[in-house]
Amino acid sequence: MHHHLILRVVTKMLVAPIILFALYVQFHGDFSPGGGFQAGVIMAVGFILYGIVYGMEKVQAVLPSWLAHKMMALGVLIYAGTGVVALFLGYDFLDYGSFSPHHPSHGQHWGIFAVEFGVLVTVTGVMISIYYAFASRRPAISDEEW
């Protein structure tokens, strides 16, 4: 896609707002629609768009595939780890009240924040990894082939 000047410029302008929107969906999920799953997909879309227009080398320079693979597992670990921390604080698994015993609803906020972050990391990692897996099977095809 080297000669698609408009696509390249528009992509460059869009990637940052897409990632910003993903962060908004993630951290504003308590008040508006959204959460880790949606935010993870949107975050991944930012990288995938960059990868489609600029090529795999460029996007993998930003987010190498080993990092995307590690993110998949890291998110699940963050989620389960939140539950284990609650266990060590003497509460039930995933009982977020444990993070703020005198003010349980604050604990809930922290717990939901943590597990949603875990979901975000896993979903972003999985989506980007799957895209890398498909896209790196073949060299990019020329425009005429479509």
């Binding site: 969906v25 999920g29 308590d30 008040f31 508006s32 629609p33 959204g34 959460g35 799953f37 949606q38 997909v41 949107i42 991944a44 879309v45 995938i48 489609i52 693979h69 998949m72 597992a73 998110g75 699940v76 989620y79 389960a80 539950g83 995933l94 977020y96 349980p104 609803s105 809930q108 906020h109 717990g111 939901i112 597990v115 949603e116 875990g118 979901v119 896993t122 979903v123 990692g125 999985v126 989506m127 990894s129 799957i130 895209y131 890398y132 897996a133 498909f134 896209a135 790196s136 099977r137 073949r138 095809i141 082939e145 479509w146």
Partner: protein, 189 residues
């Protein structure tokens, strides 16, 4: 009320038209795009049902990621669907019978918006009632998903992780660990 009906009818009409277009089309690039349109229309229908969180997911995953993955798959296969060798009547019969069975099944379901539906009288009512003081979070979906049903969501995250690992094992470009023998040089696993 009239407006609601009009919106529902036009969305469903477009949905069915998209379905027919997908069936008729042979160029897989067009089919992929139509599948994206289908997802977007479904997302709009979910918005009219006030299920914005689900609509959001449908739009992002169905219209966004799926389309990209289908396009990536298209680069690995041919661009034109082959003509079917058998008659279209057998698949049509199967689809009709299955569709009739599904419609027959929905007759037993509670009516739309029924206050006595099993989904409404179960534990959901308690979540709605206790949520505001337990959580102090306005978005019901978020606190049910992440806190009351935290185990389920952990399972979902694990499912997403497993799906990712499965795809990577099947088609990733990850190379097998090279053995030390020089004859394996350049061999891609």
């Amino acid at each position: 009320m009239m407006l609601d009906l009009f919106i529902d009818l036009s969305l469903f009409t477009m949905l069915v038209a998209t379905g027919f277009a997908i069936v008729k089309m042979r160029r897989l690039f067009g089919v992929t795009m139509m599948a994206g349109v289908f997802s977007l229309l479904s997302a709009m229908l979910l918005v009219t049902l006030d299920a914005v969180d689900v609509a959001f997911t449908e739009a992002a995953v169905g219209a966004g990621i799926s389309t990209v993955l289908m396009l990536s798959t298209l680069t690995l296969t041919s661009r034109i669907e082959k003509k079917p060798v058998h008659t279209p009547w057998i698949p049509l019969l199967v689809v009709t019978v299955t569709g009739a069975a599904i419609i027959y099944g929905t007759l037993d379901m509670p009516h739309f918006g029924d206050a006595n539906a099993p989904a409404q009288v179960g534990v959901a009512a308690q979540y709605m009632e206790r949520g505001p003081e337990d959580m102090d979070i306005p978005n019901v979906v978020t606190y049910i998903l992440a806190s009351y049903r935290g185990y389920d969501t952990m399972g979902e995250t694990a499912v997403v992780f497993t799906a990712g690992v499965g795809v990577l094992m099947l088609i990733s470009g990850l190379r097998r660990r090279r053995r030390k023998h020089p004859k394996d040089e350049g061999e891609v696993g």
